[in-house]
Symmetry: C2
Subunit: 340 residues, 2 copies
């Protein structure tokens, strides 16, 4: 396998007998070179297989045409959809996506951010639980264009894109109230996440507005996982006065909840209705058929990219916030409340 040296602009210059700068200008499509010359250059470049080095170009331009994405774990389906959304736009803008998984660990995030910054990324998209960390704040203070996603911090004035605030949860609450449910349980996500806190707050606000049962015991602390749902089933089924409907803060935990309830002899939706959040692909299959609040992860990613690309161009524009609408998808895990 021949360790072929990269062909540079110099090679093209030598080949054509022109100066490096002329070749550069010709290739860049500058109007100042004679058409014939350009033709000749382009031809030579093609023949030699010349491609400009983006590394050199980045150094020269002080801009890398790359953007960094910090998430917790791509293996998580909604994170993946999000990344895909980001990539769609970033790619279209001629930029490359640098991916870093943090697993929610502060130190890993700090390290990953450092590397991204050292690589001179033009901007950062981050889903982070550690916005309060000193080191992270310091890096952010460097002025790198940044878009925060799903989690923000009141002290940080950055572009932000999120969803799930009011629309979906409120709509779902009205819907189940219409079905006669009054006592509604809630399975939270990890409360270190501001989005999980927001969802919970929205739920509580909605419950209050609609005059539903606001007992504290109806809120079960969980995580965004199948197993969290399984565990929560124990809690809810063991209550003296069980809720007739339970909201889970994502589809995975909702599915775990349904299974756990089933193992304890409770049928969904006959005994208890369930509402999820996400609308993962499998939510629509018959065997699951989950009533859920759809969250367009890919759209969120695309929107984050959009904001970021704009900010890269105009670094001093005021920070924007984009909240994407969510909506209820009614399927089979919700049914009218059996009066008892």
């Amino acid at each position: 396998m021949a360790e072929r040296r990269r062909v540079t602009i110099k090679d093209v210059a030598r080949e054509t007998g022109l100066a490096v700068s002329t070749v550069s200008n010709a290739l860049a499509g500058k109007p100042l070179v004679r058409p014939e010359t350009r033709e000749q250059v382009v031809e030579a470049a093609r023949r030699l297989g010349y491609r400009a080095s983006l590394v050199a170009r980045s150094l020269r331009a002080q801009r890398s045409y790359a953007i960094g994405v910090l998430i917790e774990d791509v293996a998580n389906p909604s994170a993946a959809a999000f990344v895909r959304g980001v990539e769609d736009l970033v790619d279209r803008a001629g930029c490359t996506l640098l991916l870093a998984n943090t697993d929610g660990d502060v130190d890993r995030q700090v390290a990953a951010m450092q590397v991204l910054l050292d690589r001179g990324v033009d901007g950062l998209v981050m889903i982070s639980q550690h916005l309060a960390d000193e080191r992270i704040r310091e890096m952010l203070a460097g002025g790198i264009p940044t878009v925060l996603v799903q989690r923000r911090d009141p002290e940080l004035d950055f572009d932000y894109v999120g969803a799930d605030n009011s629309d979906g949860i409120r709509e779902a609450l009205r819907y189940v109230k219409g079905l006669g449910h009054h006592r509604i349980g809630y399975l939270t996500g990890p409360l270190v996440s501001s989005s999980a806190r927001e969802r919970l707050r929205t739920f509580r606000d909605g419950v209050a507005e609609l005059g539903l049962d606001a007992s504290e015991e109806l809120v079960c602390h969980g995580r965004y996982s199948l197993d969290a749902g399984l565990e929560a089933a124990g809690y809810f089924s063991g209550m003296r006065q069980r809720p007739t409907c339970i909201f889970a803060s994502n589809d995975m935990s909702a599915i775990g909840l349904i299974q756990g309830l089933g193992e304890r002899g409770l049928d969904v939706p006959a005994d208890v209705s369930i509402v999820g959040l996400d609308d993962i692909e499998l939510a629509r299959i018959k065997a699951i058929d989950l009533t859920t609040i759809r969250l367009e992860k890919r759209e969120i990613g695309a929107e984050a990219a959009r904001l970021l690309l704009r900010r890269v161009d105009r670094p001093d524009a005021p920070a924007r916030t984009v909240i994407l609408p969510t909506r209820l998808i009614v399927r089979g895990t919700t049914s009218p409340c059996a009066t008892r």
Copy 2:
């Protein structure tokens, strides 16, 4: 927000009153600088917040410490798990991961590869259906360290990592034969993919070896998707002599198949047994409870990274092939064949 200029090695040199080269040596830990000098440099660097530019370093070193990953779509759960596996190792090796989605489109892949190469990535990990494409071959011929995953080409002598060849499918075949099944259907993936072809071939070989029904009509051409499974259900249920068991080439299509069969009044596993391939997270829940062949995507990714990192160090070592074992996970969608 102050558009702070990056602090460079020059700034540190000026601050300490030393020469740039001395600072570089000190920071690189070269033994030739006096300890006190080093101390002084390190201190100044810290105070100024100096971080070496990886862009400049890459240009100088002709090595980027970045590796490119070409896949079809991260939004696909198994692709995401794979990427995660790659990242685990690549990150540990101090490299950054550049991600590109191709959606299986040749032109997008060519473009993405170009960009990655232009960025001077140290290596490439790719899952590609278009290994035969002239342009792609040409780029590969440049000698960039490359690991092929899941799909390969007899003419390309690269490192390769795959799975699913014999173990899992054969094991599953023996298992269902033991249950009394003789007439077994097969739902393929897109046959442009060499892995889909390999799976089919393995299936056929196994059927022949075990003396099962090898009728051509038992093979239904499909894709790796829920909808493909739904469609295939029409085909299988409409056969004069239906198979009593069907293998799907991935879990998503298996799940679609189950639903489609159900819509046509066929029960799984009472009327027909189903075997999937992947073992996605939801395969284990009660509502799905899919018998399937587990494919360790994340492990495959890690292995690919391992091979790549090794090759970056030793570009001329002979190509290696790693085939990860797969194994059958028996759950509820398979049952003894009802004699009829």
